[in-house]
């Protein structure tokens, strides 16, 4: 059998039902195999769109996403999604074509050192050197991508090797002696953590993207007492919002309540979170009174940025139930948290998320998110791009469960939202999938509307159109003396015409009074829809911890 046909068998054995890609010379053999392999292949219009679509698919379903590109420019176009998946721990396998082995190292046509270029931004990568390696390598790639802390794996396949004939035998096990992620938390540490919790008077649970598959376990722990919970941008939905113990998101554009609670906490339980600078702000002033329990499957995250007092390495799904049991056994005095909660309640009362609405019919961007929440009944899978609209979406759309909020957190990749929505919709055909896009960001991967039209992928894209690279404009306004250098995008393009040209439905909404109704109409329209929502041009995302400052310095 040809190695590429074996490759198709491996993909099927891994449960792959869809891949996103674009062919070229070096992966022609693979594409020949796709012709009748019985695996759905979605032809994207740019490899980056395919990579982000695979991310959206993986984030929405929890399964490994697969994305393909040819050698050279095909592979370099995948660099952004690879890096994005690395930063946000998304399980992905990238299959890149490579020039024939005799051309390797000769600067052959469309040769790029894909393994070298991507080395710093992959969980692991494989260069195929012999056709017989293909099946085993593929299974190893999937195993690495999905286990431990998930991440992207690149498999680079020279075209002559992929068309070689090999005897194919299904591979039933992988052998990776240097790769053994720890999943079981240490019992002694868990016990110590329970004791610390029982003695804490101002505890906070701070949960990140690592907790999306342990949401019910998180809720059990939090409600074993009245532990206040905050999530990072990546963790939203892991704790159901709204909820009486929910403080809102923390970090640069988090709620004052969440940030103040971190600031005054005596014990912080970090779960699947990595103390990114957008969370800590000025690190020397971050949570100055707190001791830290840090639970993470990646030991390298523990004490990387903030030294942990009780480190626990392992899978949150394994650790949290045991921690809850240990905690319950201590029958701690629940009343000890009353003072803490009354403090929190003061902040909640004094500093709710707010904005100044207008009554002249203008659509405030925050209101746009609230309207979309209402129009979708809070029940959609929401993807977003990067910028102000992303932060407002995170603030004003309440996510009741994980894998409903899909965005680019670590890398902050403009152009992520639309293709990610496409992938999420393919993975969850029965759900409403909406993308909250920026007018700047959406132009970076708008070409995938053609893919959506051709494949009948009915995503609903709502562009928060402020005519600006808004988040940059905000920084220029606040920190650069209002010198608006190259952030005004004016009236271009005409998104309704763009939608039309791509075979999608275009709409333009400017009226606040009918916004919810109009959004419902857009959601009810079959096929892909691109909605240009005109919002207040110069509005700032608040509250905000200016970069490099502390929670106490929140403005707005």
């Amino acid at each position: 059998m040809r190695a590429v046909d074996a490759l198709m068998e491996c993909l099927k054995a891994e449960g792959v039902d869809v891949v996103f890609g674009l062919p070229g010379g070096a992966n022609l053999p693979t594409y020949d195999a796709f012709y009748d392999a019985g695996i759905r292949h979605i032809l994207v219009r740019h490899e980056a769109g395919g990579g982000h679509a695979a991310e959206g698919y993986a984030k929405a379903t929890g399964k490994v996403g697969v994305s393909l590109g040819t050698s050279g420019p095909g592979a370099t176009n995948l660099v952004t999604p690879i890096c994005d998946a690395m930063m946000d721990s998304v399980p992905l396998v990238f299959l890149t074509g490579q020039v024939q082995t005799h051309l390797l190292g000769t600067d052959g046509f469309q040769e790029a050192d894909t393994i070298g270029i991507t080395m710093p931004i992959v969980k692991h990568s494989f260069m195929i050197r012999h056709p017989l390696e293909i099946p085993r390598t593929l299974h190893e790639a999937f195993h690495i991508a999905r286990s431990g802390r998930p991440g992207p794996v690149v498999v680079d396949i020279p075209s002559d090797l992929s068309r070689a004939d090999i005897p194919y035998e299904p591979v039933s096990d992988v052998h990776l002696p240097g790769y053994q992620p720890t999943t079981d938390g240490n019992q002694k540490q868990i016990r110590l953590a329970a004791k610390a919790l029982a003695n804490a008077r101002r505890p906070v649970i701070y949960a990140g993207g690592g907790v999306v598959d342990a949401a019910s376990e998180l809720r059990e722990l939090a409600t074993a007492d009245r532990f206040p919970v905050t999530c990072t941008l990546m963790g939203l939905g892991s704790f159901p919002a709204p909820h009486e113990q929910w403080l809102g998101m923390l970090g640069m554009h988090g709620t004052r309540t969440a940030n103040y609670a971190m600031d005054e906490a005596d014990l912080i339980v970090a779960i699947g979170a990595r103390f990114d600078d957008r969370i800590t702000g000025k690190i020397s002033e971050f949570a100055p009174r707190a001791k830290f329990i840090h639970i993470d499957i990646d030991p390298a995250e523990i004490s990387k940025n903030v030294p942990a007092h009780i480190p626990i390495v392992g899978d949150a799904r394994n650790i949290l139930p045991r921690l809850t049991t240990e905690y319950r056994a201590l029958s701690a005095d629940r009343s000890r948290l009353e003072e803490w909660w009354s403090r929190i309640a003061t902040w909640q009362e004094r500093h709710p998320l707010r904005y100044e609405d207008t009554d002249d019919g203008e659509i405030k961007p925050q209101y746009m998110i609230q309207a979309l929440y209402e129009a979708t009944g809070g029940a959609a899978i929401v993807t977003s791009d990067v910028g102000q609209h992303q932060m407002w979406a995170a603030q004003f759309y309440d996510f009741p469960m994980p894998r409903r909020w899909i965005n680019s957190g670590g890398l902050g990749t403009m152009g992520f939202g639309l293709p990610a929505a496409m992938g999420a919709q393919v993975g969850c055909p029965d759900q409403t999938v909406v993308c909250i896009a920026g007018d700047g960001s959406v132009q970076m991967n708008m070409q995938e509307l053609a893919t959506c039209a051709q494949e009948g992928i009915p995503i609903k894209v709502f562009i928060m159109n402020n005519g600006y690279l808004g988040m940059v404009r905000q920084w220029q306004e606040l920190f650069w003396d209002r010198r608006y250098s190259h952030v005004d995008m004016g009236q271009w393009p005409d998104f309704v015409k763009v939608a039309d040209a791509y075979g999608a439905t275009g709409m333009r909404l400017r009226d606040k009074d009918t916004l919810v109704r109009d959004m419902r109409a857009a959601l009810a329209t079959p096929g892909p829809v691109l909605v240009d929502v005109r919002v207040t041009r110069e509005e700032n995302t608040y509250p905000m911890i200016p970069a490099g400052q502390a929670a106490r310095d929140m403005v707005g």
Binding site: I115, G116, M119, P120, K123, H124, M127, R129, I144, L176, P177, G178, Y179, K188, R191, L192, A194, K195, A196, A198, N199, A200, D266, L267, K291, F292, D298, P299, A300, I302, S303, K304, P307, A308, H309, I310, P311, E326, A329, L330
Partner: protein, 188 residues
């Protein structure tokens, strides 16, 4: 830290008793013995990791082991500059890294090989040879106006040797960087 009691006891543990487990800088030199899969690109993954994370490598030596599928890397770095704990954890994340030992300074034998080319004629020559004798260094090449000296030993010994021969006119030198192994029967 107060000892941890049995679960379900009501013994109080004060949060004040908790200490962060990890000191970020140890302040001393570390010698890491790293066993890796002998595959193309593995060294690049390691050096790339160091460069990317801003960890400074002092010396690096790579060679085969008794198992042809495994290579051994000896890497020395300064624990005053590099967060050793973080370095080893990041190294462990590389799929091709099989084992890492941060060798205990009291329990290891470390050696480096160095070659020095010095200009030495007439009276100077005898003096250089005397230094060699003290350091058990060998003269491996002689011309009318130069000597090539070979010395092995710990990094400190080689440093000392270098300091002594340099004044005679050091033309060039080559050092391998340390390799190290643990004392006693047990495998590193």
């Amino acid at each position: 830290m107060t000892p941890v009691g049995e679960p379900a006891t009501q013994e109080v543990l004060s949060l004040d008793d908790l200490n962060a487990a990890v000191g970020l800088r140890t302040g001393r030199k570390h010698v890491l013995a790293i066993l890796v899969e002998n595959k193309p690109g593995v060294l690049t993954r390691i050096t790339g990791l160091f460069a990317r994370r801003g960890f400074n490598i002092d010396t690096l030596a790579v060679g085969p082991t008794d198992d042809e599928t495994v290579s051994r890397i000896t890497l020395t770095l300064d624990g005053a500059v590099a967060p050793i704990d973080q370095v080893t954890k990041q190294l462990h994340k590389l799929v091709n890294v099989l084992k890492i030992r941060d060798l205990d300074p009291g329990e290891m034998l470390a050696r480096e090989l160095a070659m020095f080319k010095v200009s030495a004629d007439g009276a100077a020559r005898a003096e250089v040879m005397q230094i060699c004798e003290i350091f058990r260094a060998k003269v491996v090449d002689v011309t009318k106006r130069s000597l090539v000296l070979e010395v092995t030993g710990t990094c400190d010994k080689v440093d000392a040797f270098e300091a002594l021969v340099r004044p005679f006119g050091l033309i060039e030198m080559a050092r391998t960087g340390e390799i190290a192994i643990s004392r006693g029967r047990a495998e590193t």
